[in-house]
């Protein structure tokens, strides 16, 4: 239903929309990478309308200050002439935050998002202000224009649940885009969900069962991104400096659960893990100098990982199922 509503406005980009939806239900944030003009802002804005969530847009620029995002205390005067500080909420106090061109802001400003993304609250002058759930940051960055940008530090990149790539639309989709944008077309999207329903769905997602051997596979997949001696993937050994953090496994499993539900199943399969491997791990694999120099794409390494890591562990080393789930 959400897709139907979104498709009224957005042409194509179904994969991006699905992944955004997964991020939302998993309580994660997404880093969207794509050249300008592919409809990133439109997608996010429409999604907020469909889901009936408060939308904020922050355009990151080099002179943007943390206070511009978080908000600040201003001096106010009451009717009697008494002055007092009043907290003026910044754009972070929304539910769907579009951090446009996040890599244009200074690291100081970028890090202002850290607490909000991780703990869903902000602290200003010692006072904590909780953010209204569901809270999701959708940050965009331009992969081509690197001049005057501040690449996000690894710690912050790791906090993004998914890194999504916006693909260029196909010719058919371009025709549709032209039709929808150059003619008198005013689509009206319905509000399908609200905060409460999304929170309930988030809670349900955690209950999706996952078998221990599927978890095992997710773990082995993440371990295969580490360029150590036991790594079975040749490309990882050659081009990777650091592999995925444990957040990578968390992302895989949680996203796998939502993906399974989206496929109409009640359990996570190995295929679900494979399906979400790229968006969950691509920003967590840090290439070494050789990888950077040769222009290796993290997606290629993940593809090799998915192919190279065996789905089933050998019989002799198979573990009892109670090992990962000790009986209470």
């Amino acid at each position: 239903m959400i897709n139907d509503e979104l498709s009224k406005v957005v042409v194509g980009q179904t994969s991006l929309i699905t992944n955004l939806y997964i991020c939302l239900l998993c309580g994660g944030h997404a880093l969207i990478e794509g050249v300008p003009g592919l409809g990133k802002t439109l997608i996010v804005k429409t999604l907020s309308q469909v889901l009936n969530l408060k939308y904020s847009r922050i355009q990151f620029t080099p002179d943007l200050m943390p206070a511009d995002i978080l908000g600040t205390n201003i001096i106010n005067e009451d009717e009697k002439g008494n002055r007092y500080f009043e907290f003026y909420k910044g754009p972070i106090f929304g539910q769907i935050i579009l951090a446009d061109e996040i890599n244009r802001a200074t690291p100081k400003t970028q890090s202002a998002l850290l607490e909000a993304m991780q703990e869903e609250k902000v602290t200003v002058f010692g006072t904590e202000y909780p953010l209204a759930p569901p809270f999701i940051v959708l940050a965009t960055q331009n992969p081509l224009e690197m001049e005057g940008t501040y690449p996000l530090p690894e710690a912050q990149i790791d906090r993004f649940f998914f890194k999504l790539k916006v693909m260029y639309p196909s010719p058919d989709q371009l025709i549709e885009i032209i039709d929808k944008t150059t003619e008198d077309y005013q689509p009206k999207v319905r509000k399908i969900a609200d905060s409460g329903s999304i929170l309930r769905m988030k809670k349900l997602v955690t209950q999706v069962p996952i078998a221990s051997h599927v978890k095992d596979y997710a773990i082995r997949l993440v371990l295969a991104s580490h360029p150590d001696e036991n790594c079975p993937i040749e490309k990882t050994k050659k081009f990777v400096r650091y592999g995925s953090s444990p957040r990578g496994v968390q992302s895989l499993v949680r996203a796998g659960k939502v993906w399974a539900l989206l496929q109409g199943r009640y359990n996570v399969s190995l295929g679900d893990i494979m399906e979400v491997a790229k968006p969950a791990l691509r920003h967590r694999i840090i290439l070494n100098l050789r990888g950077e120099a040769e222009g290796i794409d993290a997606d290629d390494i993940i593809e090799d990982m998915v192919k190279g890591v065996p789905e089933k562990v050998p019989v002799l080393s198979s573990r009892p199922i109670t090992r990962l789930h000790p009986q209470k």
């Binding site: 069962p209 051997h213 359990n267 190995l270 789930h325």
Partner: protein, 473 residues
């Protein structure tokens, strides 16, 4: 399946190896042990590689593309997890299982491995029905012959050796027991021709040793000095102690003792006769078995080694008083026997004396070699003493200077083993070398100074060499 195949293969292998007779320990079959080992190994392998039910479910999930529904549902059920989705999943998995046919879940696949089962079973049956064992005694002419020999030996044993068993001394009882053992093995068809020949050779050795001992005792009892010069012992000194010779000796002794020959003497003579007959019987058996030559070699080598005493004396012909006095060296050997050092102790001194006497008379050298110190006559070569086969050297008798008192005996047991050190040279040098190296290591030189010091000494060495060269030039 794999376990079953492995078990069959191991059994076939064990049976095959057993059938061609490679695994037979002293005639007993080890096939049951091999079967047990193969089954145990297969069982262990099967248990070790056995797939759990969970693994089976995972395999079914993957094979039928069920997206891990069965395995996840089973795991949730096993762990007692409860959630909305678990219930839905179990229902989903149940309905899925209901829709899948049994042969899809457990497909009957036929592989080439299945062909192995009838082949292996047939092999086992064939191997069990045929007998490839090279059994030396079963169903062959040789076996029959050996059986006959066994019967013959048993008959002889009952007829001749019964008395020995009851009344003889320990060595004689051992002979009897040895004979019985051989007979029993022949009857049980568990002895090969070679084994029989070896056993007979060993028995012959024992009989010969027994005869030697008896002869020594008889010689001592006759009071050698006084009686051997008399013509009554002449028959004994002829070619061999034939029954007539022994009878003649008995008659002469009766004449000498006026019909009252001491019991000990008459018993020894009869025992000698018995031994002679036994020896003759053994030789006949050996000849009958067919490998007489090999056994004769063994027999002659035995003679070479032992330097048969009185038996040899019978064969040596005439001996002078002087030479017989050499035979008095027997005295200490008798004491050896008394001390239980073994009745097979050779009397080398006498053998030497006899041999020398033959040479002096211009007769061809005796075929029976004897040991002389540092010489091995049998091969005509010279060998250092430590290579002599006997550990005991020859026994000499020396009367000493005339009128100086009693003579005495000198036993030369062996010469020092020169030329063969107990330790290797490097075993001696290495500890010294280690000590030296450890002493050098103890020098308190800082690690990074070592190179400088080494270079310094090297430069000194070079300079000294240069100076030396300069001076020489």
């Amino acid at each position: 399946m794999v376990t079953f195949l492995l078990s069959l293969m191991l059994n076939t292998l064990a049976l095959g190896v057993q059938k061609i007779g490679l695994l037979r320990w002293e005639g007993y079959t080890v096939y049951p042990l091999l079967v047990f080992v193969s089954f145990a190994f297969s069982l262990l392998f099967g248990l070790r590689t056995k797939q759990s039910f969970m693994d089976e479910l995972i395999e079914i999930d993957v094979r039928l593309g069920l997206k891990e529904r069965l395995s996840t549902a089973y795991e949730c059920h096993q762990l007692g997890r409860k959630s909305v989705f678990v219930d839905l999943l179990v229902e989903d998995a149940t309905s899925l299982l209901g829709s899948i046919k049994a042969h899809e879940i457990f497909p009957r696949s036929f592989s080439s491995a299945h062909l192995m089962i009838p082949i292996l079973v047939a092999s086992i049956v064939i191997l069990l029905s045929i007998d490839l064992t090279p059994n030396p005694t079963k169903g062959s002419a040789t076996g029959e012959r050996l059986k006959q020999i066994g019967l013959k030996m048993e008959k002889y044993s009952k007829r001749e050796l019964q008395g020995i068993k009851e009344e003889g001394g320990k060595p004689r009882r051992d002979l009897s027991r040895h004979m019985e053992n051989i007979t029993r093995e022949l009857k049980g068809q568990s002895m090969t021709e070679e084994g029989l020949l070896k056993s007979l050779a060993a028995l012959a050795k024992e009989v010969e040793a027994e005869r030697t001992q008896l002869a020594q005792r008889l010689e001592a009892e006759l009071g050698l000095e006084d009686m051997l010069s008399t013509p009554m012992l002449k028959p004994l000194q002829k070619e061999k102690g034939s029954p007539n010779d022994l009878e003649q000796l008995r008659e002469q002794l009766e004449e000498l003792f006026e019909g009252e020959v001491p019991t000990s003497l008459s018993q020894d003579i009869s025992s000698l006769d018995q031994n002679r007959r036994f020896e003759q019987f053994l030789k006949e058996i050996i000849n009958e078995v067919g490998s007489a030559l090999a056994v004769e070699d063994e027999f002659s080598s035995l003679k070479e080694e032992k330097g048969v005493s009185l038996g040899m004396a019978f064969e040596k012909g005439k001996t002078t008083d002087k030479e017989i006095s050499g035979g008095r060296a027997l005295a200490p050997l008798e004491s050896n026997v008394a001390n239980g050092e073994g009745y097979t102790t050779p009397v080398l001194g006498q053998a030497k004396a006899g041999s020398r006497e033959s040479d002096e008379r211009g007769q061809p050298p005796d075929v029976v070699p004897s040991y002389a110190a540092g010489r091995e006559r049998s091969e005509g070569g010279t060998k250092p003493p430590y290579e002599l086969r006997s550990s005991k050297g020859p026994v000499f008798k020396d009367r000493g200077l005339p009128g100086q008192g009693d003579w005495y005996n000198v036993h030369v047991r062996s010469l020092p083993t020169i030329g063969k050190a107990g330790l290797k040279e490097e075993d001696i040098i290495r500890p010294y070398q280690k000590e030296l190296e450890s002493a050098l290591r103890k020098e308190d030189i800082p690690l990074h100074y070592r190179e400088y010091i080494k270079n310094y000494f090297l430069s000194i060495g070079l300079r000294q060499e240069e100076n030396r060269d300069g001076r020489e030039n």
